[in-house]
Amino acid sequence: MSETVNPTLPIIRTVAVDKSFGSVEALRSVSLEIEQGKFFTLVGPSGCGKTTLLRVMAGFEQPTRGQVFIDGKSMEGVPANKRPTNMVFQSYAVFPHMNVGENIAYGLRSKKTPADRIATLVAEALEMVGLAGYQNRPSHALSGGQRQRVALARALVLKPKVLLLDEPLSALDKKLREQMQSELRNLQRNVGITFVLVTHDQEEALTMSDQIAVIFGGEIAQVASPEILYRRPNSREVADFVGVMNFLNVSVLSEHGTRRRVEVEGLGIVEIEEDQAPRGLVGDIVAGVRPEQFTILFEDRASADRCCSGTVTEIQYFGDMTYYAAKLEGCDKTVTISMRNTAGRRTLGPGDKADIGWRSESVLILS
């Protein structure tokens, strides 16, 4: 849909971008490559600089140092209105004094598109976001979800090379948010335009993205696909931010080539592969195990290759899932274990003894 994009180049490339506001460093040496046609997400806690990075890409902020390339061209000195990007704002910024049709035609008019062409494009854009026939609705009569769609249509009708989305779902209630998540994902696949989404919600990042960049304190912590990010986070901070992680003390026993033996508190001696310790075994290290990598063994003992025991101290029932807090035998650590409530499976109560199964590839060594 977008014209003359070289598919071999990254559509957006930032090179060592720094951004300071007075004495506050919002971005520190951010170098990123975003592939053409991907759904890319910038995720991090609030105040981490993700929105600043998006605004640097859009041209609303100038980097203090470093460069931004869009489709191979340097964006230095190129103002926001001349960039091949469009943005969906957190507040949607639907113009209140214009109706839906005028809002969507706004960008087309500034490009001097002929009037009959505008009418067709507006109708197409509205249909694409599921608001066919809404041209004459006044903006103030729209619900939050509809505003969001108008903002999307208004940006996409210009066929930008990159669509930038600044926390577009944070103002919607849970049900609508989930619906919009899958709609946004489908929309991105259909139009083939690169989407760059900013969110503080790691779950949203995991479900929607092709690639995710985790940002902490103005620096990129990890760039990876959702699966890698969840299964193989490269640091303790990332592991803690994305999903739930049990952290256990660990000590190194031996290290021969690719075979490493470590002793994990409460679990015993574990032999791990190289990719289970992305930063090696040096420094201040800790072992991490995801809650679903533990299994409470009822009858099916054979499914786990390792086993330890513990005592349930607390349960949280979520309907489809039950989360257990269990104190491991032989140490003082409590771990979180999640179990799917499949047909016929019992749930335990506080004080019950439990056999806990796990596999050696579930253990990550993080620093």
Binding site: P79, N81, N86, M87, A93, F95, P96, A155
Partner: protein, 272 residues
Amino acid sequence: MSGLRMSNWLIVYVGLFLLFLYAPAILLPLFAFNDSAVISFPLAGFTWQWFATVVDNESLHRATRNSLIVAVSTAVFATTLGVFAARAGTRFSFPGKRGMMGLVMVPMVLPEIIIGVSMLVVVLQLGLSLSLMTIILGHVLICTPFSTAILGAAFQGLDRSLEEASIDLGRTRLTTFLLITLPLVLPGIIASLLLAFTISLDEFIIAFFLTGTEATLPVYIWGQLRFPQRIPGLMALGTILLVVSLLLLVCAEYFRRRAARNMGRGEQRELF
């Protein structure tokens, strides 16, 4: 009004308070329709004759025309300056901003007699002659703070991302200001024009000091008070001015509230 019941004393107090505030204003139309040249009770009967003297009076027409010129010019200049000040105050940060915004607002609390005297001295020192122009200058000085306050609220309520969205969609800063910013603060601009117009129309002290040969309406009225037989006519004129001022204030408040509603922020602080 539920909750605590108002005590009887409180009702009496409120009644006296309102009487004190509004009784003089009510006397004005009362005597304007009274068929007697003497301003005293008991009332003599109903008449339109005092309004007829207003319609016939040539120098009164002249004063009215002068006042309109002054009030309209003041409204336009004060609102223009107010737009600049409010825009700077809400969008940009620069060293000394707080102090500067404070200085813009100071004329609001300066005694008008001080402004009148000092402006007279300055004008004479500069060798300018007193004219409608000098009155306009004085009125712009006292109206700009009001305009800045009203417009400041209008600009404050404007979501900044609306302007960014316009630029993002390919417009320049100038067309964004014309197509997005101005239409959205327009009710604020109208409210500011109306308020400045009203303040200027009935301002006396500064106009009194800065008037040359051409008097404004309040200065003209002051001059007429020496002639007792013309006082009922002034009552009629005062009645007309009262009604016009009230209508303008109601309009100004309507537009100010509409501005607040437009921004989707609900009611902001009330001016009246």
